[in-house]
Amino acid sequence: MKAPWTPRVAWVLVIASFAFSLARIPHATWGKRLAQVREFEQLGAAGYHLGRTWPDELRIVEWIEANTPSDAVVLWRGTWQGPIEHVVASIGDRLLFDADVAGGIPGSETQLLGRPVARGSFEGKTGRVVLIATRESLSMEIVP
């Protein structure tokens, strides 16, 4: 009995799919991945995720790591999407806290959640650190 054309076409597609995927392994599975690994090892996690696209934001992260306690609460306001997402993953045990919510909490000038609020001196100002987030960028302000 003559077989219909669909299984034959399907087998051709499956074999073509298999062959195409196999052919991509040297480039996509090995080459690109190992290139990413090399770049990651070179730049570090924060450098890889932030520094390549947002070098200024990486400098802010480095400043926070160098100038604030390791368990500090860093204030922020703005859009939750964008480089701020990688900031939270790059600042260790520190927490980001909504500056507007903090404004309503008594004593939040120095402490929040039992942790010190990040303070520092930057561009001639001294006070609390507040990160301003947009979808495209991140900046830092110092407020009293």
């Binding site: 077989a3 669909t6 195409f20 190992l34 690994v37 995720h49 701020i84």
Partner: protein, 491 residues
């Protein structure tokens, strides 16, 4: 079920047992201290694994009568596995997730869970910035507890392990109906799918949850697949279905929708006991996920109860269907179709009120209506993503062919086909909810991952529908009569 399918069942049963127990403790405010949770994970993993091991030592009755795998084939498979898994292993051992959400939405939560448990400000204080706070926790919990056991670098190797189980599960389901060489070729094609082994978001070492969602959807697909010579799911398949649907809500927000779709399709395809058990387990799972989330995002108890009870509607549907005379298939189908629509809407609503997807649901009905004008753009964009060979090779082409094929060699896989079709429809429908200016971004960065989740059941459907041969079909498993012909033999 074949030996390979038992590996899948063992893995999913472990994950679900562990997930339900941990969620139950978290829901009542108890975070198991120290190594208690990792120990629970180990116990949950070992018990079904032992059962699966003894089961797999038994004769492989339900696989097709083909000779055992030749040495050459075995060596070929091992070489292919090494070629694919070695670079992934190197990457996992030397770097963290290199894709966006893998780092900030998934691994970050696992690290925090590993360090300080769930009841810490990062999860429970709304003022604290916590990406994906509303997302379910099963994957981060597993990674966190493995981290406590063996360290983060070693814990990451759970992902390639899950990927191997996924491929074994695909092979196991295909082995029941295809000759072994055909099943091996199909499984090997799935194994080298660029979306999983390449470098984009959702791949094996990206840290995303697409892999684990695909694993559970593979479980559902495997359970809904009709084996040659059997009209209904076996008890083991029914169990596989129940653990799969119970696990889905603990993985990602869309998992709840998928679980509901599976239950609705299962109404027609599974024994009543399976429908009842699956619905109850899904209800428990949904309720626990909502109760745990309520510690972070306040939610009224009534809503949690509603979320938990909603899947029980499926039991009522099954009872209602039993009351309809068997001959009235049109009426039965209409009831199912009506219920699918309403359940899907209800699922989206419940998911939204329980704190997830707020960002996409904010636009409401107005956004959906406004989006109708974008339908051609969405359709062509979606097709462009699906047929991007760099991500899916020709997988969706074969799937479309499977849906289009008719005739005596097209094996009936109504339930599996309906499940895949509804899942793809739900994934596409989600595009109606995204903000207008985000459509292009959503197509290439989210819709492609939704498709990746559905690759396993789609591949199962394609393989079983297109390549189940008449000869093999007629060879019913030993000791079981062939109650219904599963292949259309019209001519």
């Amino acid at each position: 079920m074949t030996r390979a399918s038992f590996v899948l069942l063992g893995c999913l049963a472990s994950l679900v047992t562990y997930g339900l127990v941990v969620h139950a403790f978290l829901a009542i405010g108890i975070d198991l201290p120290g190594m208690a949770r990792p120990a629970l994970l180990a116990i949950a993993a070992v018990t079904p694994a032992v059962l699966a091991f003894f089961r797999t030592r038994a004769p492989n009755r339900e696989s097709m009568r083909s000779p055992s795998m030749s040495k050459h084939t075995l060596v070929g498979c091992l070489v292919l596995a090494a070629v694919v898994l070695v670079p992934i292993g190197i990457a996992l051992a030397t770097t963290g997730p290199r894709e966006w959400d893998g780092r900030v939405a998934w691994e970050l939560r696992a690290i925090r869970l590993s360090d300080g448990g769930y009841f810490q400000p990062f999860f429970t204080q709304l003022g604290v910035y916590s990406p994906a706070r509303e997302y379910p926790l099963l994957q981060p919990l597993v990674l966190a507890d493995l981290t406590r056991l063996v360290g983060l670098e070693a814990a990451r190797f759970v992902f390639p392990l899950l990927f191997v189980v996924l491929v074994v599960g695909v092979f196991g389901a295909l082995e029941r109906a295809l000759r072994r060489p055909a099943a091996i070729l199909m499984a090997a094609s799935f194994f080298v799918l660029p979306g999983f082994i390449g470098t984009g978001a959702g791949n094996v070492d990206s840290g995303y949850a697409e892999l684990i969602v695909a694993l559970f959807l593979c479980g559902v697909g495997s359970a809904l697949a009709v084996a040659p010579g059997s009209a209904r799911a076996t008890p083991w398949q029914t169990l596989l279905f129940c653990v799969s649907v119970a696990g889905l809500p603990m993985l990602k927000p869309e998992g709840t929708v998928y679980a509901w779709l599976a239950l609705v399709v299962g109404v027609h395809a599974l024994p009543k006991n399976g429908v009842v058990l699956g619905s109850v387990l899904t209800g428990i799972s949904c309720g626990l996920v909502a109760a745990v989330r309520a510690h972070a995002i306040p939610m009224a108890t009534g809503r949690i109860v509603l979320v938990a009870c909603a899947p029980l509607v499926v039991i009522l549907l099954r009872v209602a269907l039993d009351l309809v005379p068997a001959g009235r298939r049109t009426l039965r189908t209409a009831i199912i179709a009506g219920t699918v629509g309403s359940l899907l809407g209800a699922a989206l609503l419940l998911v939204s009120v329980s704190g997830s997807m707020d960002a996409v649901v904010d636009g409401g009905l107005g956004r959906v209506v406004a989006r109708l004008g974008d339908l051609p753009r969405m359709l062509f964009g979606g097709l462009g993503v699906a047929f991007d060979v760099r991500k899916f090779a020709l997988l969706w082409g074969v799937t479309v062919l499977a849906f289009a094929s008719r005739g005596k060699y097209a094996a009936r896989q109504h339930a599996l086909g309906a499940f895949v079709a509804l899942g793809l429809l739900a994934a596409f429908a989600s595009l109606f909810l995204v903000p207008e200016n985000d459509l292009e971004h959503e197509l290439v960065s989210r819709f492609d991952r939704l498709l990746l989740q559905w690759t396993a059941p789609a591949w199962l459907f394609a393989g079983l529908r297109l390549f189940t041969t008449e000869e093999l079909h007629l060879a019913a498993p030993r000791g079981r009569k062939n109650p219904r012909n599963d292949i259309e033999l019209r001519s």
